[in-house]
């Protein structure tokens, strides 16, 4: 299943190969179809800002686990060890940018004790878009390595039952280790394909941080500038659509699904939501109160459902961290 105009927009992107596009692709090391898409979304000036922004490594950020330690105490402990931290309250009240680290942030006693999680700033703001109440049933559909699962339990003080699902055998070990390390108990981990779960209308709140092509984390993985072809985008788009349709099935009436993808590709964001809105009648999109840019409204001649304006995007050159798409879908009563 895919958006009826998916292949058309991707062909348009692939066909645009003027000297400006080729020049930028060569200078910054991207595939030309990617540059054509950025120009379509951002125009010339901002595309240059994005390409320059993607040249700088992603800042290290951590999320303090205030379920185990007051954050000011963690700050003191890490600062005594020579770390320099700056709070990033617009992303999360528990988020810090690590300005200076005398040793790896993943190798301190405080890390082993579960006092913090090494997590991208945009990634940690996604969970704040969810409806999180204590005493409810919550599903994290693609949970490893556990950044968002541990954050959900942190915000619900381990008092909601979280069902975390992960298909990948290697990554599920990290998920379990992180949930345990950070001191949580109120979870069930399933090693399963999230499209084959028996949980019809079961959950009060669902997070689908969908598998993506990773176009939002080029600052962390510069190989991504070249590693994905147009067919990879088509493939991942269809998986994302399938997963979101399933997520809607697993949600109780009246409950919400937060869809996220760490990608700048509209094919993995706006087009997924646009297609699902056209297929399912009993859903609507809700505004989310997180500090990010608006989703795009049109793309290579395709006008999206106006509801999509309520979805958000994190751009590396605007918000300063990884690229993400996030949208909140409500299953109507």
């Amino acid at each position: 299943m895919e958006h009826p105009r998916l292949r058309e927009v991707l062909s348009k992107a692939a066909e645009k190969r003027d000297s400006f596009i080729i020049g930028l692709a060569e200078k910054y090391g991207y595939r030309p179809y990617m540059i054509a898409r950025y120009l379509e979304m951002l125009g010339k000036e901002e595309t240059l800002l994005l390409l320059e922004g993607n040249q700088t490594p992603l800042p290290k950020t951590i999320r303090c686990n205030d379920y185990l330690i007051p954050c000011n105490e963690l700050e003191d402990r890490l600062e005594r060890k020579g770390f320099v931290l700056t709070p990033i309250p617009s992303f999360s009240p528990y988020g810090y940018k690590v300005e200076k680290a005398p040793i790896s942030v993943g190798a301190t006693h405080e890390y082993l004790l579960g006092y913090y999680f090494v997590q991208g700033a945009a990634s940690m703001s996604i969970v704040h878009a969810m409806d999180l109440n204590q005493g409810t049933l919550i599903l994290d559909m693609a949970a490893a390595p556990g950044g968002k699962s541990t954050q959900i339990l942190q915000l619900t003080r381990d008092r909601s039952l979280l069902v975390s699902v992960e298909k990948n055998k290697r990554r599920i070990r990290a998920l379990r280790a992180n949930l345990q390390r950070m001191g949580f108990k109120n979870y069930i981990i399933y090693h399963a394909d999230n499209r084959q779960l028996p949980f019809e209308s079961a959950f009060h709140s669902i997070l689908l941080d969908a598998p993506s092509t990773g176009e939002g984390i080029i600052r962390k993985d510069p190989k991504r500038k070249q590693s994905k072809l147009i067919n990879d985008i088509i493939f991942i788009h269809s998986i994302q659509v399938e997963m979101l349709l399933k997520a809607i099935q697993y949600a109780r009436r009246g409950s919400s699904i937060v869809y996220a993808a760490c990608s700048l590709a509209p094919e993995e964001g706006e087009m997924v939501i646009d297609f699902v809105l056209s297929k399912i009648k009993n859903i609507k999109i809700e505004e989310i109160n997180i500090n990010a840019s608006r989703a795009i409204q049109s793309y290579f001649g395709v006008e999206f459902n106006p509801e999509i304006r309520k979805c958000k995007r994190f751009w590396p050159h605007r918000e300063g961290f990884e690229g993400f798409f996030v949208c909140k879908v409500r299953k109507i009563e």
Binding site: H109, L161, Q180, Y190, A202
Partner: protein
């Protein structure tokens, strides 16, 4: 790969009761815990995982009957393998608040230097700045601030000159999360 969730059998219960007695956990607490433990058994697996789930978790399991895909749930209590019961790191966190310098539970309090060695999975020769509640046997290892560090076994050593000291051998330490955790 068949998975099964069940209550502990008598042999498994005895193994865990013996371990909890060995660290001097109160009988009342043991009694409270032991009947609520469950085992996740995988046919052909090398060990069995033991969990302490909540009632909500058990209700969810029963309602959806999706047992064959379960990977972990609730408080991970430890594992039962060929060499007996091995307590988990989450269990160390659970019991750490029970450690006190009055030694109601068999704990060992490590100083910063000893802690570093222990968290690398190395044996630690106990110094004056450390405090051990026992001279031999199973211990819960914590920092002086009662932060859980893992599990170990203490024994008394004597060198050829007649000097003696305590040696702590790690069973499971927090460094495991970095070395093998995932």
């Amino acid at each position: 790969m068949n998975k099964k969730i069940r209550k502990l059998n008598k042999k498994e219960k005895d193994l865990i009761i013996n371990y909890l007695f060995s660290i001097n956990l109160e009988f009342k607490k043991i009694n409270c815990i032991i009947h609520n433990l469950i085992v996740l058994e995988i046919s052909g697996g090398s060990h069995k995982d033991v969990f302490l789930p909540s009632k909500t978790q058990l209700d969810f399991l029963l309602k959806y009957n999706f047992i064959e895909k379960i990977y972990s749930l609730g408080l991970y209590f430890g594992l039962i393998g060929r060499s007996g019961f091995e307590p988990s790191l989450p269990l160390a966190r659970e019991f750490a608040p029970l450690c006190s310098k009055e030694c109601s539970l068999n704990c060992i309090f490590l100083s910063e230097n000893s802690m570093k060695k222990f968290l690398y999975g190395k044996q630690v020769l106990i110094r004056e700045s450390d405090l051990s509640c026992v001279e031999s046997g199973n211990v819960l290892v914590v920092s002086h601030a009662r932060e859980p560090l893992g599990w170990g076994v203490v024994r008394r050593l004597q060198n050829k000159y007649g000097h003696s000291g305590l040696l702590l051998t790690p069973v499971k330490d927090l460094g495991w999360y970095l070395r093998r955790g995932g």
